[in-house]
Amino acid sequence: MGDCHGCPANSIATLPPPPGFGAPPRRHIVAIVGPPNSGKSTLFNRLTGLRQKVANFPGVTVEHRMGRVKLEQGRDVYVVDLPGVYSLTPRTEDERVTHDVLSGKMKDIPRPDAVLLILDSTNLSRHLVLAAPVLSLGLPTLVILNMADDLKSRGGELNVPELAMQLGSPVALISAAKGIGTEKIFQFLSGATLGAAPTAPLIQLPVIQDIPKCRAWATTIGNKTGYHAPAPPLWTRRLDAFFLHPVAGPLVFLFVVLAVFQTIFKGAKPLMDAIDEAIKHSGHWLGQLLPNEALRSLVVDGIWKGVGSVVIFLPQILLLFLFIGVLEDSGYLARAALIADRTMARFGLQGKSFIPLLSAYACAVPAIMATRTIESKRDRIATILIAPFMTCSARLPVYILIIGAFIPDRNLVGGFLGMQAAAMLGLYILGFVAAMLTARLLKSTVLKSRRSSFMLEMPPYRWPTVRSLALRLVDRSKVFLYRAGTVILGVAIAIWVLSNLPLNHGKPPAIEHSITAGIGHLVEPAIKPLGFNWKIGIGLITSLAARETMVSSLGTIYGIEGDEHSPGLQQALRQDLTLGGAVGLLVFFAFAMQCMSTTAVVRRETGGWFWPAVQFAYMTGLAYVCAFIANRIVTYWS
């Protein structure tokens, strides 16, 4: 195939100097641009593999992700994955980001050397509308027609060399999900990043602001290149008849959610037990290697137990991310947003808020970034403010610890749902209800606006690719372990040091007389009404850095206290906390704003300290009041 038709003849220009010689080589940057659902992220993953910058968020490309593509001759190109846009007219935040990067106005990112414009070949006429403004940028552009396999299987046709001639840019017909035809992209990257100018298109580009004209232009091109649109996606129609069925649809949704909870609780158990064993044994083994008693205590009790008590939750967090990844990549999430729209409207929001809120179940940080697709500013701020109420994965370790210690492991509903899983589900619902009521409150007062519109494209259902899912999980593991290795490690060491000072005749004091206890007793009066003791107080202070730090801090404090037959953390808590206090603690964690990363992102996204301050005060205040009430009620009843 003559896919490189229109490739400039002078594409092999001088190579940049090898690294380490003379001036540092300029980074070559290539931007991936395309409409939503054209497969940008799949392509990005395909090109960069594991060489992506550790992004703090999964899946949905909202902020730009940067990754390195290895070319032959030892050269590298950096690819930027831009948000999905239908046009380059900057109306939403997403379009602004894309527009700014492409026009070189984005801070920290130089203007790209070339563009990979990715379009869905099964819907080419409509997607070509984006080609007009992108080609008129004058950057070397490779037009990538994705979903080649779908096009073929559904009986579509296209003359690729002719399209390249018409557009004046090389064209590659590929399947990013299956990795077919991607070698054309590497060829293009090798050549085009070296400063070649594109040839002029054969066909005059239309006025880019006039959408009907652009669309007519796309039709003309389609006709000239023998484009036959494929038959409608039959399976998508069939699946929608089921998933959007008035009765079956919502039931399926409910079933999916319940299955997720049950799997997180039961499915991850063997893996968690294995990690637990590994941590115990390696800790024991490490202890034998260290002769010095103080050093041994620091390494084994402070670091190993502290950090280990958090690392153990990795399987559960990965399972959660896996589920959200499957829902998102398969296209089901758009249907869920559709089903949720009416409910969301009742609380003053819209279906589009549902997608960020669902991903907030994994982590609020990417969720808050994902709110950029919401056009209405007020809806967007409302969604940002309520997102941290959704039960993020950092709360999971705390919930599991407390629920495991205080809720009996009995079966409910004929064995399908365990009592512990039900308690967990209850906490998730609690967070959701708080979010919705807060949205209602905000939208009927400070963020009041007219009912906003809801327009959402329903992508065809697709099989999630193993590659994309695996990359998400690797990414998430990195973020999680990085946090365990930095913030949580630091806090664990600090807690250990403070728990072993002041020295008494050269020996560490009993935990009751340590500095940690001193600080704990200082805050105890404030938290006593909630049913918490000073040790929980220390946990709460450290959890301001990140919620899961609570578990490692308690692990360190109780680890120090325990003797040879040290009971598990859960057992220790059972002796130290009443049921009322435990429920109070769960409620506190459900509502309180204890996450520095989230606060930082909210500040960035809302452009100031006002909203993050309001959010922190509101959430923490609500947490205190509700934990107090919960403690009183449970204590009264039991």
């Binding site: 109306r91 819907n123 559709l338 729209d341 809801f454 494209e457 329903m458």
Partner: protein, 88 residues
């Protein structure tokens, strides 16, 4: 509400039809988008361009929002938006 104002534009019906009046599976040709500029632009980008055919698809439980097939894709719209899309 310009829907009722535009009478006698079609020979078949006595007033202009809008998207909400399509029956499941029924198609119509879009005539104009009676919406603020921003919303109209966005809808046109998603395929709702005057002269194109629109087919009603499925809907969320309760009948709102509804999915419409237009220009090779499916887009969900709320009733109040669909009402402003006038058919020929």
């Amino acid at each position: 509400m310009q829907v009722s104002v535009r009478k006698n534009t079609s020979s078949k019906n006595d007033r202009a039809k809008n998207l909400t009046e399509l029956k499941p599976g029924e198609a119509g040709v879009l005539e104009k988008l009676d919406l603020p500029d921003d919303d109209a632009q966005r809808l046109m980008e998603m395929g709702f361009i005057p002269g194109h055919s629109v087919t009603r698809g499925l809907s969320a439980p309760g009948g709102d929002p509804r999915v419409f097939r237009v220009d090779g894709s499916e887009v969900a719209l709320r009733r109040e938006t669909a009402r402003r899309l006038i058919l020929k």
